[in-house]
């Protein structure tokens, strides 16, 4: 095993309070990306 994630980073990754805010942030970000629209590609590049 090679420790690639520092102790501090691991703390941040697993701390429920920090992660609660991350959860809110991630939910909004994912929603914006996915619900943020989709469309064709063909006209745009004509």
């Amino acid at each position: 095993m090679t420790q690639r994630i520092s102790k501090f980073k691991r703390f941040v990754m697993m701390n429920p309070i920090i992660q609660f805010f991350k959860f809110i942030f991630l939910s909004i970000k994912v929603l914006l990306i996915v619900a943020g629209g989709h469309g064709g590609t063909r006209e745009v590049h004509k």
Binding site: F20, K22, F23, L26, V30, V34, A35, H38, T41, H45
Partner: protein, 485 residues
């Protein structure tokens, strides 16, 4: 009065049926034909496969829901397509064979005005000799029955490890052109965490085996993503996670034969090798279902409808990787020969892969086929339903709704371990799914910021929330349609 027939009740078939039923009045018929009596939320099979969720938590029976909502349901599998009808039946129809106990073996001609083929993939275990879930110590997590089986195999091995057995675990792809690396990636991390939870991690050597050229390709040619304040490549991110969890990897491997506890594979360098294991989960290749199609005079016209999967409005002209563009990818999922047939989700034939094609010196193609994950499957199904609804309401063909995978984002919330306080997830979003190298030339074809990665407990919560939200939506509970695909 229109009759819309939907083949398949997976993510895309069910999404299409729900939206059609909600937006069309009851004078129009919506009928689903699918062999499985249950709806299953496939992404949570990962947790069934490690025993942290029961399969009954990820499925529900379709018949009562469809009855309540006014959607017709035939528990049958389609075998052939007659898009022009035939001498006996004037309208277009499909032939379906019932699988339900009461009508088993009976066939029926199901006529339609609009047909949505949402039959997803055939799990093509046969193309890899000896790869058959539950035999030769190999398993799959592609369906809930497979996942239950995988969990039994895993728990039996863990019991032996608790008695001192040293075990070799191999997880990845079971064919040179398999896809769905994301699911295998989730499973390997969940198995690793489960071994730690059960205090036998030190007894296991875990290896990732995959047809990817680099880690983190995921069948999407890899990606450049923002990770906190850094910008990194997906292979660097996955490498970091695997090294940190002491998982080895073998890349560019086309698994071609399975024996009891032994996987044979060919590498991109042309070598033939084997790897031993006590437990393996290998994703099979996906293919079309081998449907046949006939014109009104009973001539075989299968190649007008199928190219393995169903032909849609993609550009199938063969061209080198360097000439691929996002414009090759379909926008409306309409069959060009029969305008009332559509194929969203995994059922449509992609124009080519997304990952760069590679061959071994022996001529074997070893690279991932393009994935179509849950989100694009749902989005494409909804846009197909919306175009049919508009066409019916306006009494003229409408293809207003478009959604190319070259202009659509996707979120892959990969579980990296289960547990409200001990769980973890690798959340990756990409925009667009198919890289647009012209639009984003300096960022590997994708928009940075919209293409990002995050690792941590929040990812697990998000995946769990999505599990409950999508099952709520699939059950068509109040305001289900407000939850986006």
């Amino acid at each position: 009065m229109s009759k819309i027939v939907i083949l398949g009740a997976g993510i895309s078939g069910h999404v299409a049926a729900s939206h059609l039923r909600r937006k069309l009045d009851k004078t129009h018929e919506v009928i689903v034909v699918s062999p499985n009596s249950n709806y299953q939320w496939i992404p949570s099979n990962i947790w069934v496969g490690i025993g942290r969720m029961k399969s009954k938590e990820i499925l529900f029976p379709l018949a009562p829901l469809y009855k309540k909502k006014g959607i017709g349901f035939k528990q049958a599998k389609v075998t052939s397509f007659y898009p022009e009808g035939d001498s006996e039946t004037e309208k277009p129809f499909v032939v379906a064979e019932y699988v339900s106990a009461e009508k088993k073996g009976e066939t029926e001609r199901i006529t339609y005005d609009y047909l949505i083929n949402a039959t997803g993939p055939k799990l093509n275990f046969e193309t890899t000799e000896g790869l058959n879930p539950g035999t030769n110590k190999t398993y799959s997590v592609c369906t809930y029955t497979h996942a239950d089986h995988a969990n039994e195999g895993l728990q039996a091995l863990i019991a032996e490890m608790k008695k001192g057995k040293e075990a070799k675990i191999v997880i990845g792809t079971g064919h040179a052109k398999a896809t769905c690396q994301g699911a295998a990636f989730e499973y390997i991390l969940n198995v690793e965490q489960e071994l730690r939870r059960q205090k036998v991690r030190d007894k296991a050597k875990i290896t990732w085996i995959s047809n990817e050229y680099k880690l983190g390709d995921f069948g999407m040619d890899g990606m450049l993503l923002s990770y906190g304040s850094n910008i990194m490549k997906s292979h660097e991110m996955v490498e970091m996670v695997f090294e940190d969890r002491n998982i080895d990897w073998i890349l560019g491997a086309g698994v071609n034969k399975i024996e009891d506890g032994l996987a044979h594979y060919e590498t991109l360098t042309g070598e033939y090798k084997t790897i031993e294991y006590d437990f393996a989960m290998l994703i099979p290749s996906f293919s079309g279902h081998g449907f046949k199609a006939f014109d009104k005079n009973n001539n075989d016209i299968t190649d007008k409808l199928f190219k393995g999967f169903m032909i849609v409005d993609a550009d199938y002209a063969p061209k080198p990787y360097e000439d691929w563009t996002v414009q090759d990818w379909p926008e409306t999922y309409q069959n060009p020969n029969y305008q009332n047939i559509f194929a969203p989700g995994i059922a449509f034939a992609p124009p080519h892969s997304i990952s760069k094609p590679r061959k071994s010196p022996n001529g074997t193609e070893i690279f991932p086929a393009p994935p179509r994950t849950g989100m694009p499957s749902g989005i494409t199904a909804k846009l197909v339903a919306d175009n049919i609804i508009d066409s019916i309401k306006n009494n003229t063909e409408s293809l207003h709704h478009k959604g190319s995978m070259g202009n659509m984002g996707a979120a892959c919330i990969a579980s990296a371990g289960f547990g409200i306080t001990k769980g973890s997830g690798v959340s990756i979003t990409t925009f667009p799914i198919v890289p647009d190298y012209k639009k984003y030339p300096d960022t590997m074809g994708r928009k940075l910021g919209k293409t990002f990665g995050e690792i941590g407990l929040a990812g697990h919560w998000l995946k769990l929330m999505l599990h409950y939200a999508f099952i709520y939506k699939a059950k068509m509970r109040p305001f289900w349609y407000l939850i986006p695909e």
